[in-house]
Amino acid sequence: MIGIKSYGAYIPYYRLSRSEIAKTWGGPALPGEKAVANQDEDSITMAVEAAFDCTRGIDGANIDGLFFASTTSPYKEKQCSTIIATVLDMGKEIRTADFADCLRAGTTALRAALDAVKAGSAKNILVTAADCRLAYPYSMLEQSLGDAAACFLIGDSDVAVEIEDCLSISYEITDVWRTDEDDFVREWEERWVITHGYSQNVEEAASAIMKRNGLSAKDFAKAVIYGPDPRSHAALVRRLGFEENQVQDTLFATIGNTGTPSAPLMLVAALEEAKAGDNILFASYGDGADAFILKVTEQIERIRERRGVKIHLASKALLPSYGKYLSFRKLVQLPPQALRGTGSATIMWRTKNWVLGCHASKCRKCGLITYPIQRVCYGCQAKDDYDEISLSREKGTLFTFSLDNIASGGINPPIIQSVVRFQGGTQFYCMMTDCDPKEVRVDMPVEMTLRRLHEEANFHNYFWKCRPPREGG
């Protein structure tokens, strides 16, 4: 049976209290907080994090496809799935695809992965979904939207969740949208959006798949159903006949509506609590709806050590101000920075193994590990005699650091310049992110995270940073 072999999630470290937004603009505050991607995060970096979480203990080389779903891809013409696959050290002979334009793209990609595995054209496919959507400042939507990513590994052996049936409907409606030139999410009148878009479609798809399988609400341990806001969600699940204890929370109060990864993220949260034998109804929405019937197997216990939703949720820091959020999202004009980075397609391509893959060279003669890759060994001068090893998942310690007030050009100072020490003395020079400068100490443990470093030569340049380890994993 084909299904989900592993799951992973990512929620940014930073949260913004909705009352902070309301305090800035006046007007009512929705309860809770939203997850806010750091200024160096985007949908690619978040998808990478979720994929790492999902592939904990799984060798990237054994995965033969990666699908990326997002409505906030940083490129119009350049495949983001390839970038992510490179980071994950997946091979070259793999299937990659970017699914876009639709908040349902995550489950659309999931279905495509199911097809590919079922059709025998791939064994294991990673499906990542991430979004970092912008709402107009001062709008109510600004309080609702959050940033996050989710990931599933789809395969046909050792599945933790069997996918027993799926159903899709497609629906032409311009309810919540962005054109190719829009920065901010547009929305038509809310009641219409909910009634004729979300509620009608999801109800139709969910009812149809239950009917087709001769199931009713009571047959499910959990109903994992996308919800743009808690109230509409509650009304819908009630109409579908679910009791409160069957309903998976929308994560609205803690993360916000995250768009493409929203329903997948809820599913991750549900699976964290699921027991073997549980039936789950899973549905997502966006220009139509996708519905799935899932059955949890005993293999679920094998993948409990993910950071997933629960642990990522617990690991957080509140942004001190709304202004910080504005600067993170570049919604205010900041002073120009005299950046030194000069992007170069040639250099980035040539060095993708160590830039994206986080590869160090390990000398075959003396065993010394050096980052970045060195052709002539620093220890024994052996030439071109090394293996590439990835440091991306290694844990290290902070060997030395400085809190650099000038490196940032005055924006969000200080930059935490870091020298990370890995086992065997490997040094990794980088910046630290997701950390309060006051808490930086020599010898503190750190882990690596891929971030968007800068935009030069019209590329988004991604590179690794270190951060205090998030909980778990």
Binding site: A100, D101, D115, W177, G288, F459
Partner: protein, 482 residues
């Protein structure tokens, strides 16, 4: 075995001689001409046209999925495959997906459709690809790029070309790219782009495919893969792989230009137009990696010979008078605003309510008197579906009646110089459909001097205009093409 069951293509009517770019900017004129989408076309409309061509004689009910591939989607958050599926009158319980990001998006979508059919999740899936990429003025891309679309229907029954095998590689190299904020295609140094991208990765995929299926260059009647903007690289790859020049499918560079995510599929359509049963075709495409397929043509191919495809669309053309028209159509210069009243604000609720009427051009036929009728309303308050027959006043006695595929005749028309349009005068036609029905539409792809009362026209799916965040798609009339 899964295969292609039908094909279709679309090339805009208008072409611009590359000499016109030279006239405007000096520098280097590439040979030939390029296809230029009309001001009212975009990747959604061109993909729709190609899909309509592909659907000729096929019942929409038999198609249960539509995948759209492009790098120039008009929306970032709104599924375009859904829009196209409504225009094609596909059902609601269908699979839709937008594949983007890569110039290989078309073949990626094909691979996904094959999976879905092989997995039994769908019987027949339409893959339609179109691109309308912009080269910055005065640059090489402006000359080399072209606009167009192609569509393939995949399924298991009535296969015209079986897909016998496939091979994909993924490669994180972006020699030609656009970030989320870019309007124009960017490129790195061309030699590096070609040496390390196209000329390295594409042959690797093709050789990998041949090796995997134990095939040699001589086993193929045709080899079809897309060309980069530097056209010289296209035959060079073939030569390196030991294919004869005769085996190589023309890149459409001289006639259409590089159509991005649609190019490989358009070339495949051109190849299928000439293919004979039993021909084996190698089909590949490049873009952040490469996909390669082995196809084998079946006798069923003869059943789809009536497509407009590439050949007929190529022959049907009008050469644009000058570069300035191109610049105007692409919105590359700011023109004086028309001194006309603002348009009524677009009501999205209205568009949604009438989505089948607007996107699917569905009208009604009176069950009492048999009169077909299409109501688009007078503009005030949005159009409303017909409830009462215009002829016999019977109320709610209608059956659905579709006008998209009906030919029509101009009853009367005007050339409106006052109307706010990118391509004045606005040619407005009152048309009577064959079989009955009357409606008023903008006319496109027309020569104003040739419009006559009684002239036969057909319907084409276009973008009327952009208003407050919405691309308004609707149908227009045009002189019969092909």
């Amino acid at each position: 075995m899964v295969g292609i069951t039908s094909y279709g293509a679309y090339i805009p009517l208008h072409r611009l001689s590359r000499e016109e770019f030279f006239r405007a900017w000096g520098g280097l004129a590439l040979p030939g001409e390029r296809a230029v989408a009309n001001f009212d076309e975009d990747s959604v409309t061109m993909a729709t046209e190609a899909a309509i061509d592909c659907m000729k004689g096929i019942d929409p009910k038999t198609v249960d999925g539509l995948f759209f591939a492009t790098t120039t989607s008009p929306y970032r958050e709104k599924q375009c495959s859904t829009i196209i599926s409504v225009a094609l009158d596909l059902g609601r319980e269908i699979r839709t997906a937008d594949f983007t990001g890569s110039l290989r998006a078309g073949t990626i979508a094909i691979a996904s459709a094959m999976d879905a059919i092989n997995a039994g999740a769908a019987k027949s899936i339409m893959i339609t690809a179109a691109d309308l990429r912009l080269g910055a003025p005065a640059g090489d891309f402006e000359q080399a790029l072209g606009d167009g679309g192609a569509a393939l229907l995949l399924g298991e029954k009535g296969v015209i070309a079986t897909i016998e095998g496939s091979y994909s590689i993924s490669d994180d190299f972006s020699g030609v790219w656009r970030s989320d904020a870019d309007t124009f295609v960017r490129t790195w140094e061309d030699r590096m782009v070609l040496d390390e991208g196209y000329s390295a990765v594409l042959p690797e995929a093709i050789s990998g495919l041949m090796k995997k299926y134990n095939l040699a260059p001589g086993d193929f009647a045709k080899v079809v893969y897309d060309a980069p903007t530097d056209i010289r690289r296209h035959p060079r790859v073939a030569g390196g792989l030991k294919f004869d020049a005769a085996q190589l499918q023309d890149s459409l560079f001289m006639t259409v230009g590089n159509t991005g995510a649609a190019l490989a599929m358009m070339m495949l359509v051109a190849a299928l137009e000439e293919a004979k049963p039993g021909d084996r075709i190698l089909f590949a495409s490049y873009g952040n990696g490469a996909d390669a397929f082995v196809l084998q043509v079946t006798p069923e191919i003869e059943k789809v010979r009536d497509r407009r495809g590439i050949k007929n669309h190529l022959a049907s053309k009008r050469v644009l008078a000058n570069y300035e028209t191109y610049v105007r159509w692409r919105g590359l210069i700011t023109l004086e605003a028309a001194r006309r009243p603002d348009r009524s604000p677009t009501s999205i609720a209205g568009l949604w309510r009438d989505r089948r009427i607007i996107l699917g051009l569905w009208g009604v036929k009176c069950k009492v008197c048999g009169t077909p009728q299409y109501a688009q309303g007078a503009g005030l308050g949005g159009s409303t579906p017909l409830r009462v027959c215009v002829n016999c006043q019977a109320k709610d006695q209608f059956e659905d009646y579709r006008f998209t595929d009906k030919k029509a005749e101009i009853f009367t028309f005007t050339q409106d110089n006052l109307a706010d349009t990118v391509d004045p005068p606005a040619t407005i036609t009152v048309v009577d459909f064959e079989g009955g029905g009357r409606a008023v539409f903008d006319m496109t792809d027309r020569d104003p001097a040739e419009v006559k009362v009684g002239m036969p026209v057909e319907m084409t799916f276009r973008k009327l205009y952009f208003d407050r965040g919405v691309h308004n798609y609707f149908w227009k009339t045009r002189p019969l093409r092909c």
